[in-house]
């Protein structure tokens, strides 16, 4: 696989749609990921995103994850994002001030991915 190529692998399961992202989650390829995520949500099931194989993240990657969370709220679908301690995500999330104790205005159900002690990116922050 091209190191600069982000790969969006969608795996539809019975109860959920799993998306495994790999490569850089950065501005150059962000539209491609957005389309992939939209496709996953379009299946109408819970969405599980794995960032374990992501090699680089920038601000567009962070805001795409927020956008996916908002989409899940709007469509009333569960969203679960896991990073398995992805170091690229941890450092960027810390610098960007993503780690928080209160969710965003849309986070009525308390599912913000950046919230709480077990939040995404908190491992190494």
């Amino acid at each position: 696989m091209d190191q600069d190529q982000v790969l969006v692998r969608i795996n539809e399961r019975e109860a959920s749609t799993d998306i495994a992202l790999s490569g850089p989650l950065t501005v150059d390829r962000i539209e491609e990921v957005r389309v992939g995520l939209l496709r996953a949500f379009a299946l109408g099931k819970s969405v599980r995103i794995s960032l374990a194989a992501v090699t680089d993240v920038d601000l567009t990657g962070l805001q795409l994850l927020c956008s996916a969370h908002r989409t899940s709220i709007a469509r009333e679908l569960d969203l679960r994002v896991t990073s398995d301690g992805c170091p690229a995500l941890s450092s960027v999330a810390g610098v960007a001030g993503m780690l928080r104790h209160i969710g965003c205005p849309q986070d009525g159900c308390g599912t913000c991915v950046w919230k709480g002690d077990s939040a995404l990116g908190r491992e190494a922050a």
Binding site: V27, I30, E31, V33, R34, L37, L38, F41, D58, L59, T60, L62, Q63, L64, C66, S67, A68, R70, T71, A74, V92, V95, A96, G97, M98, R100, H101, I102, G103, C104, P105, D107
Partner: protein
């Protein structure tokens, strides 16, 4: 007021010069230590700056030159060499000389100043020798940056800023990265960063390449507003708002910060009316505001973080402030006055105790007297404790002495110290300086051999002088130990015989032989050097230590070195003592030397046939009848008392009429008329207002030994028979 400031400058400058000397000596040992270079530079900078502020232009100008040199060292343009340290130490001495001249009105040797500056300039690389090269951090550079309002935009004071940074949405597409700006801000100090994500839309509507974030940051930094704005210098299209929310000057904020409602109103997230309305309910304000739908969580989060951040920064500052405020500078004279007053109080309290004893039936009076006695005892201990200083500062001074003297004599000597934190009364420390200098000079000159001699003797090239201090009861033991050649027993003995200090065939112990070195004019040195050898010194040391009511002990081993131990009382102001009476007069003996008191009847005295000896259990103890020594008229009582003291490992008795008991003795010096009276070191005022003399029992013993022409401590078996 101006004089007060000038005095404060002088005091601080002296401390800084002492610190500078230590730093320079440490730099000589660790020339690569940039931390020390920075410390030296800062000390010079401070002396220069404050000198200029208080009108000491000569000091400021001179120090500027030295500071310039250390700026070069700091910048890696100049290496630390022995020559540089020598010149820097000389420069330090010149600054001290200028400071002293300003106090005494004396003249400063301008030639010496020039010599030092010329020497320093020669060390500087070409092109750096200009007179007006400004040192980094020079006030003239910073001067133009000071804000009219007094706060320095260029930095220095620790302040907290509220920053809102809203990047231009297409910033990411242009290759700019807001994250690197955030990182730069975070590197300026303690930074709390909150990403605001409210503008991010769902996946369908999101334009993913645009930046939809903005940030609220709370930054505590000493770098100043300019440094913050500099981070965004190339980001013209960004929106940046910057406000100081805590300028670090507030001393009365009590470590807290504004209430959440105030912060939200200040941030423009709520109106004052909305806050007032919410405050009516008994719930956490933030929760109420969100519940009421007038505040989004995205506004609450940064406000809460701001509250936490600034409170934390203020608490930290307050703790630091408390640390620095935990000590205050008080002129030594004020402490002396305090201790004198406490001394008077102790005397009055003794009178009160006497009066209370006379009126024993008044239980309340007795109670009050006891309570006053307890409180004054505590007050006395606390007042004396205030004057206690660690001896470390004195130790540090000797580093320079050892360095310079050993270089002068071509020896390699290191000074090591232990117990620098040991505390002694300020007056005692001051009086110890000269004796210690004498002893250390002797160690360097006579004790430690030259490198060649040491190598030939199988020793390391370099010798060591070790200074240690340790508490021992109400005294401090100061030991000066060298690993030199040790004292020459035979040479001392021969000299003592030559000077008729001892008989030709006298058998003396090592201790007694070593004790000879304290005889006036005693020296075994073959030649007189500029350092020592004239025989003036050790007797002066002995006198000085006696004056401190201390003792000296010498131990020496040939080829292994000499250790001189000084036992010094902790304080000279108030001592625990034993009050005794002879005839109608009362005297005081230092309790620290007293071991026991024994009754002695006239019959026992008669049995000794004029020899002043007393059998105490298994041993014979010689005693001195003070009534006879002081030539006091009248006859003693039938039953007298012998106060047995331990002086330099010998037990000696002092015969008195009565032992009255323990006494808190406030030491008063005798007037000039009586200061040379042998055997009396001072006086004290008793509870009934009468005066009791404080006995210098060591001087009495010395006098008695001289009179009888033999040492009372080395009695022969015949004497004891």
């Amino acid at each position: 007021m101006k004089d007060d400031f000038a005095q404060a400058f002088k005091e601080e400058a002296r401390e800084q010069l002492a610190d500078l000397e230590n730093s320079l000596l440490a730099l000589e040992e660790s020339p690569e230590d940039l931390g020390l270079v920075g410390r030296i530079f800062r000390t010079m900078h401070t002396i220069k700056g404050s000198g200029a502020m208080f009108g000491y232009d000569d000091i400021a100008s001179f120090t500027h030159n030295v500071e310039t040199v250390y700026d070069l060292v700091r910048g890696g343009e100049l290496a630390v060499t022995r020559e540089l340290v020598d010149l820097s130490l000389a420069a330090r001495d010149r600054i001290l000389a200028m400071l002293e001249a300003s106090e005494t009105g004396g003249a400063v040797d301008a030639g010496l100043n020039e010599q030092v500056i010329d020497g320093l300039k020669k060390l500087m690389p070409d092109g750096c020798r200009g007179e007006q090269r400004p040192a980094a951090g020079d006030d003239r550079q910073a001067g133009g940056r000071a804000e009219a309002g007094g706060r320095d935009k260029g930095g220095s004071a620790l302040a907290t800023y509220r920053i809102r940074f809203r990047p231009e949405p297409a910033m990411l597409c242009r290759g700019s990265n807001p994250l690197s700006l955030l990182r730069e801000l975070q590197e300026l100090g303690n930074c709390t960063t909150v990403a605001q994500t409210g503008a991010i839309k769902t996946l369908e509507e999101l334009e993913p390449e645009l930046c939809h974030f903005f940030w609220d940051l709370i930054l505590t930094t000493d770098k100043g507003e300019d440094a913050i704005r500099d981070v965004f210098i190339f980001e013209d299209d960004c929106q940046l708002s910057l406000a100081v929310i805590d300028d670090g000057s507030g001393q009365d904020e009590g470590g807290g910060y504004k209430k959440l409602g105030e912060i939200l109103v200040e941030r423009g997230d709520l109106t004052a009316e909305q806050v007032a309305e919410l405050l009516g309910a008994r719930k956490q304000f933030g929760v109420l505001a969100v519940e009421a739908g007038i505040l989004g969580p995205e506004s609450l989060a940064p406000a809460l973080l701001e509250q936490q951040h600034v409170s934390g920064a203020r608490r930290q500052r307050q703790e630091q402030g408390q640390e620095s405020a935990s000590s205050i500078r008080v002129p030594a004279e004020k402490l002396d006055v305090l201790v004198n007053l406490v001394g008077e109080l102790v005397t009055v309290q003794a009178r009160l105790t006497l009066v209370a004893q006379e009126f024993k039936m008044h239980a309340e009076l007795v109670n009050v007297a006891e309570e006053v006695e307890r409180l004054i005892g505590e007050l006395r201990d606390n007042a004396l404790d205030i004057r206690m200083l660690p001896i470390g500062a004195t130790f540090s001074k000797f580093k320079r002495l050892v360095r310079d003297l050993s270089a002068e004599l071509g020896k390699e000597i290191e000074l090591t110290t232990h117990g620098a934190e040991t505390e002694l009364d300020k007056t005692v420390i001051e009086k110890l300086n000269d004796p210690l200098v004498h002893i250390i000079r002797n160690c360097i000159d006579h004790g430690i051999e030259t490198p060649q001699e040491r190598l030939a003797g199988g020793k390391p090239r370099g010798g060591t002088v070790h200074l240690s201090a340790v508490h021992s009861g109400d005294s401090v033991l100061l030991t000066i130990k060298d690993d030199g050649a040790g004292l020459n027993r035979e040479a001392i003995r021969a000299k003592a015989i030559e000077r008729k200090l001892i008989a030709q065939h006298a058998e003396l112990s090592d201790k007694e032989i070593w004790g000879m070195i304290f005889a006036p004019g005693f020296s075994t040195a073959a030649k007189v050097s500029s350092v020592s050898g004239r025989g003036v010194g050790m007797d002066v040391v002995k006198q000085a230590i006696d004056g401190l009511r201390g003792t000296i002990e010498v131990e020496s081993a040939p080829g292994r070195g000499t250790a001189i131990t000084l036992r010094i009382p902790l304080t000279l102001a108030i001592i625990e003592s034993l009050l005794v009476q002879i005839g109608a007069d009362r005297f005081v003996l230092p309790l620290s030397l007293v071991e026991e008191c024994i009754l002695l009847s006239r019959e026992q005295i008669d049995r000794q046939h004029g020899r002043d000896l007393l059998q105490v259990r298994e041993t014979i103890v010689p005693y001195l009848p003070l009534r006879r020594i002081f030539k006091m008229a009248g006859s003693p009582p039938e039953l007298q008392q012998v106060v047995i003291c331990r002086i330099q490992e010998k037990r000696i008795g002092f015969l008195v009429d009565w032992v009255i008991g323990g006494h808190q003795t406030v030491i008063k010096s005798l007037g000039p008329m009586y200061q040379r009276v042998e055997g009396v070191s001072g006086a004290t005022i008793l509870g009934d207002g009468s005066v009791a003399l404080i006995l210098d029992i060591q001087a009495i013993l010395r006098g008695a030994e001289l009179e009888t022409d033999h040492s009372l401590g080395i009695l022969s078996k015949d004497d004891m028979a």
